[in-house]
Symmetry: C2
Subunit: 245 residues, 2 copies
C-alpha cells in the first residue's frame, strides 16, 4: 500500500464543490470514480481544501492509498485520460503513508479576482466577479494589511461553520491591479468557512469608500459575522496552491 498525492486543477462552475454530497456532482466524486476505474480497486481521495460549489482551483491537493503497481508519477497521465476537461491533474507523486493534507501545517494561497469595468467581458465571466463601481485599490490594499498576522477571524467566518477555533494566521495579503482585473491574493495557515469570500466582500467595501480601511480593526474585534461585509460570490475565487511545511 502506498499513499499518492495529486495536484488537482479544476473549473468549479459545473460542480457542487469538492466534497461528496448527497446529491450533485463533486470534484471528489469524479476523482474517486476515475481512480477506482483506473486502478481497479476502491479509491477514496482526501482533499486539502474542500472548496465550495463554484470555486476553482489551480493547485488543490488530494491524497489516496493504493496497492496498484503503476508508478506514482505516471498516474496523472493515465488519470487525465479518464477525467472531464474541467478537471486536470497536474502532477502525481508518492508521499509518506501518514501524510494527511488537512492535518499537517501548511500555507494555502487563494486568489479572489474582480473584473472592474463598465460592462462584463464574456471570456472573464466564469472566474472573475464583475463589479462596475469604481474601486480605490490603494484603500483595499491598506484595509487588507490589517488582516495580516494571527487574529481571531470569527467576524470573517460563516455562521454555519463548525471550526473548533477561529484563530488563523494570514502571512500575506496583496491587492494587485492589472488593467481592469483586481486580484486579492492571500496566503494563510488555513481559512475558515467562506473566510476568503468575506474578506473579498469587505475589501470591496473599502474599495468603494463604504468603509475606511481602519474599520477592519473594529470588525476583527467584534467577533461577529454581522460586523464584516457580504460574502463575495464563489466564482471569483480560485485555490492557487498549498505549501506543506
Amino acid at each position: 500500500m502506498k499513499r499518492i498525492q495529486l495536484i488537482v486543477s479544476y473549473e468549479g462552475t459545473n460542480y457542487n464543490g469538492w466534497q461528496k454530497q448527497p446529491s450533485g456532482v463533486t470534484i471528489e466524486g469524479v476523482l474517486n470514480r476515475a481512480l477506482t476505474e483506473l486502478l481497479r480497486e476502491s479509491v477514496t481521495v482526501t482533499g486539502a481544501s474542500r472548496t465550495d460549489s463554484g470555486v476553482h482551483s489551480l493547485g488543490n491537493v488530494a491524497v489516496f492509498d493504493t496497492s496498484a503497481r503503476i508508478p506514482a508519477e505516471k498516474i496523472c497521465y493515465a488519470l487525465n485520460q479518464r477525467l472531464p476537461e474541467d478537471i486536470v491533474v497536474q502532477a502525481s507523486c508518492e508521499v509518506a503513508p501518514d501524510f494527511h493534507p488537512r492535518h499537517c501545517e501548511s500555507r494555502k494561497t487563494y486568489e479572489y479576482r474582480i473584473l472592474n469595468r463598465k460592462f462584463p467581458l464574456p471570456l472573464e465571466r466564469r472566474d472573475t466577479y464583475f463589479f462596475y463601481r469604481k474601486l480605490d485599490v490603494d484603500a483595499m490594499r491598506l484595509a487588507g494589511q490589517y488582516l495580516v498576522g494571527t487574529h481571531d477571524f470569527k467576524s470573517f467566518c460563516s455562521v454555519h461553520a463548525q471550526a473548533e477555533t477561529t484563530v488563523r494566521t494570514i502571512y500575506h495579503l496583496d491587492v494587485i491591479k492589472d488593467r481592469d482585473i483586481v486580484t486579492i491574493r492571500v496566503t494563510g495557515s488555513g481559512f475558515l468557512y467562506h473566510m476568503v469570500r468575506i474578506i473579498a466582500g469587505t475589501l470591496l467595501q473599502a474599495g468603494t469608500g463604504e468603509r475606511v480601511p481602519e474599520e477592519i480593526l473594529d470588525i476583527l474585534k467584534a467577533h461577529s459575522r454581522s460586523a464584516a461585509g457580504p460574502t463575495a460570490p464563489a466564482h471569483g475565487l480560485t485555490m492557487i496552491g498549498i505549501e506543506f511545511l
Copy 2:
C-alpha cells in the same frame, strides 16, 4: 435614420461564427434578433470582422441603421439586457451615415494565445490553444518579424478564400510570454481568411525548431498555402479591436 456603431465582445465557443449561416446560431443572428426586438423594427448589423466559428472577441465592431429615437449611447445598456451572457456590447455611438466598417481603412488587432505547459489548465481551455512541446519564444518572435510590412500573404491564406488581392500590411507582430501563456499579437490593415491562425501555426513550428525563422521568407515567396504551417485551432484566437483611420 441614423447609423449606430457597436463594440461587441463575445466568447465564440457556442457560436457558428459571426456571419449568418443557413444553420447554426451566429453572433450576427443573435444581435439582429435582439436589436429587432429592442427597437421594434427590422435591424441587420454589418460586422467589421466576420470571425470564424469558435473565435472570440473583445472589440469587434458592427453597425446598423435605425429610425428609433433611443439615444445612441443608451443602446448598449438596453441591448445587453436582451443578450446572452456570452455576448456583451461594450459601447454604442452614432457614426456617419456612410461609415462602413469593412470598406474603410482600419488597423485590426488579433491575439492568438498558446498555453505552453505540461498539462492543460481547465480555466484556460476555452481561449488558449494548449501546446505541451517546449517553445523557443525568441525564435517565434524572430520568425514573426519577417511577416511585418506589406507582402503578398497568399501562402498564409486558406485555399477556400475569395479575396481579390492577397496583399496585406502587417504593422506590428509581437510574441509575448507571460508565465506559461505565449501570445502572438498582430496588428494589420486586414487579414485574409484563416491568416492569423496560419501565422500562429507557422510560428509554432519556428518555436519547436521544425523551421528556422528565415524560412518565413521562402514561405512568403512560394505564394502557396502548402508552403506555410498548419492552421492553428480557432479557440486560441481573439479579435482584440479595430482602429478606423
